[in-house]
């Protein structure tokens, strides 16, 4: 079971199991979901969605003391959750088979590797890239230096593209990018650099946040409606398509102001990847970090700019990264996933989406619109990039150990939930380690050791 982090409120599944604060009506609903029966859309409209669980998260901001780093895994809860899921699934299949937890299991020698990671040679590293991972990386590296006391990592969020450029010119030890380096980026690497290792370092979700005065219920939207809003074909809030998804909600007769990114962004990529996946024929604006949005859309740079713009503009709707939406207490929509359920973005539902497809790689990295009853469809990884053939043993050892520590439970991943990031599924963590084990030093020796 993946580690949920110390402050993270219990998943409704688990809460229901322990009858903490949610209505017991959730229990049978959850069990029948896990059993593989997807609830039809009308049913979910009357059943409470995962909103109640999310309310706990907004209380976090008022208590700063709880936000200090505590790496204690909730082993007991994890076991109980595993037991619950096992029980639920076994209620509709053979009682004696046990199902592997979604997302895989962490390899048994994880602790040994982590201990060795903390013994990296002393020194300092420079890294740069995605602004999305900056808060997470900064916290993780700070915690790492706190334990290791010799190695400092200076990570700067200059943008995925600038990070890749810095990596191509050798200015940084490793880079971070929301979209892995593609063929054209790899072609620009110096000829003698050798192959490039790219591993996912954290998970994130993209919320559809909105500012709709007078509407307190959570909106439900789906792929075609979102495509219509953002390509300009649906222009009014009380349009038929939106009203059909939200019966019983009085939508205002006002124009929609779409809020989008002005700058090139991985968040845009994930969002348009989802739109394309949900609307293969009708979404024509493409999948890219930069999109030619229609003129009615207001473009603001950076997630924070879009967030501020949504907050300041009534009747607006835009796509904002999950941590921004949670931290700023936005209203965000429940999106219909591939299984037909309207899912509210949360750390859990993003993880559920990622668990559906754990064999990701730099050439096959899209996880949007994954199957699964509780998957939140607009999710994506962010990637760390390093050279496979390191030219300095010291730097190489530092890089692989820091990245190994950061991308595993028991190390940096424990800090994710506290910052509203989603930890990597264990199967992905195992794959990362396998990849990092292929990184060699000057004599061809593997740099990552136990």
């Amino acid at each position: 079971m993946w580690d949920l982090g110390p402050e993270y409120p219990l998943d409704p599944v688990i809460r229901a199991a322990f009858s903490l604060s949610s209505p017991s009506v959730q229990m049978p609903w959850v069990c029948s979901q896990v059993g593989g029966v997807a609830l039809p859309a009308e049913r979910t409209a009357s059943v409470p969605t995962m909103t109640e669980g999310d309310a706990h998260m907004t209380n976090r901001n008022t208590d700063n003391g709880r936000r200090s780093r505590r790496a204690a895994p909730l082993a007991a809860i994890g076991l109980a959750a595993a037991a619950l899921l096992t029980a639920c699934s076994s209620s509709s299949s053979t009682p004696t088979t046990t199902t592997a937890p979604p997302g895989g299991t962490l390899s048994a020698d994880n602790a040994a590797f982590l201990a060795a990671d903390l013994k990296a040679p002393a020194g300092s590293l420079n890294a740069s890239g995605s602004t999305f991972v900056q808060p997470f990386f900064t916290s993780a590296f700070y915690a790492y230096t706190g334990k290791n006391q010799g190695l400092q990592v200076n990570y700067q969020g200059v943008g995925s593209g600038a990070g890749i450029t810095a990596f191509q010119t050798g200015t940084v030890a490793f880079a971070a990018s929301d979209v892995p380096m593609g063929a054209s980026d790899l072609a620009k690497m110096p000829a003698n650099a050798g192959p490039v290792v790219q591993i996912p370092d954290i998970l994130g979700g993209v919320t559809i946040s909105y500012n709709l005065p007078g509407v307190s219920a959570r909106l439900k939207l789906d792929g075609p409606t979102l495509a219509g809003i953002f390509d300009g074909t649906i222009t009014m809030w009380n349009a038929a398509q939106i009203a059909a998804l939200n019966p019983g909600v009085t939508l205002p007769a006002h124009a929609i102001t779409p809020e989008v990114r002005a700058d090139s962004s991985g968040t845009t990529y994930i969002f348009t990847d989802y739109l394309k996946s949900a609307n293969p024929t009708t979404w024509t604006l493409g999948t890219s970090k930069t999109i030619a949005w229609p003129s009615a859309a207001v473009q603001t740079p950076k997630n924070s700019g879009v967030a501020a713009s949504i907050k300041a503009t009534p009747y607006s709707i835009g796509y904002v990264e999950l941590s921004y939406a949670i931290q700023n207490k936005f209203s965000y929509a429940a999106i219909k996933n591939a299984a037909g359920n309207f899912v509210v973005p949360s750390l859990n539902t993003v993880a559920a989406d990622a668990n559906q497809k754990t064999s990701v790689s730099a050439t096959d990295f899209s996880i949007v619109n994954a199957p699964g009853a509780t998957s939140y469809p607009i999710s994506g990884y962010s990637w760390a990039i390093l050279l496979q053939k390191q030219t300095s043993d010291t730097t190489g050892a530092q890089v692989v150990k820091v990245l190994d520590w950061t991308t595993h439970t028991g190390g940096g991943q424990d800090l994710a939930a506290g910052l509203d990031y989603v930890a990597l599924p264990p199967a992905v963590q195992n794959q990362n380690r396998t990849q990092l084990l292929t990184v060699t030093g000057t004599t061809g020796q593997a740099l990552l050791t136990k």
């Binding site: 200059v158 943008g159 995925s160 593209g161 600038a162 450029t165 054209s184 980026d185 620009k188 124009a255 102001t257 002005a262 700058d263 090139s264 962004s265 493409g286 890219s288 970090k289 930069t290 999109i291 030619a292 003129s295 859309a297 207001v298 473009q299 603001t300 740079p301 700019g305 501020a308 713009s309 300041a312 503009t313």
Partner: protein, 322 residues
Amino acid sequence: MTVVDPAVGAGPRRSRGFRLPDNGYRAALAVAAAAVAALAAWFLVSIVIQAKPAFSTLGFSWIFQKVWDPGHGRYGLLPFILGTLEVTAIAVVLAVPIGLGAALALAYLVPRHTRSALSTTVELLAAIPSVVYGLWGLVVLAPVFRNYVEPFLSSALGWTGLFNGPNQGVGLLLAGTILFVMILPTMVAISRDVLAVVPNEQVEGAMALGATRWQVLRKVVVPGARTGLLGAFTLATGRALGETVAVALVIGNSPYIAHSIKSPAATIPSLIVNNFGESTGTELSVLFGAGLVLLVIGIAVNSVARWLVWSTAGSNVGAAAR
């Protein structure tokens, strides 16, 4: 002012430590000037080299095309050129009269003991980082514009056809206003200094002739400070043309030609800052080309300003002016 070269046979020279001979002095000045010229040339050459691929592959027509869609290989700079000019125009149209008026007040009307404090207060506006202006504009001013200013202006001036479209808050008007606030301290501070050094004799002479205070200001002081005011105007316009971060936050970044003063738009600096980090290849050199176009615009604006000043100079009022 031309200075007469002292005759070679001037009297005995006292040497207290190293004294720079006149030729050395001129040489030193010339070297410094050459260094600055070299820096400017280095800058120009660098940008041109980076921009060259864009022109060699796309020609020159892309500068005047309207569609910006790098995903499909279409680069059109016209919306950004127009946006830059429009937002600068709004800022300058507001800043020149208000800045000049405030500078006149500071130089001639304000009581002497408060002059320093008030001048410092206005100059403090220059101390605020541009990102703060951008955030203040987005968070504080945009709602005010959307709810009060734009509806008011639309109803009062809608007949001009310049105020069509929805009231969104962000757009040319807001960006122009923020820019106006940002260039105001430059305009006021330099104008104030220039206006203050118009020779007393001229001011007193005009008053002796029976001119009212305003007539003195308008007919003697301002013309007398004309060149310096041009300098203030140039610096202020330069800042407005080149402002990046604050504009990017409040202009709406819409890569389409604005159809009203309220519309969202985009400027060349905002285009560059939004796309530079992620662009490669042709798009990157297109961005450099856009920077080059902005340089050309700056040159054009400066030339027009100079021409305006020279053509209305009239008699050479004021010894301090050229």
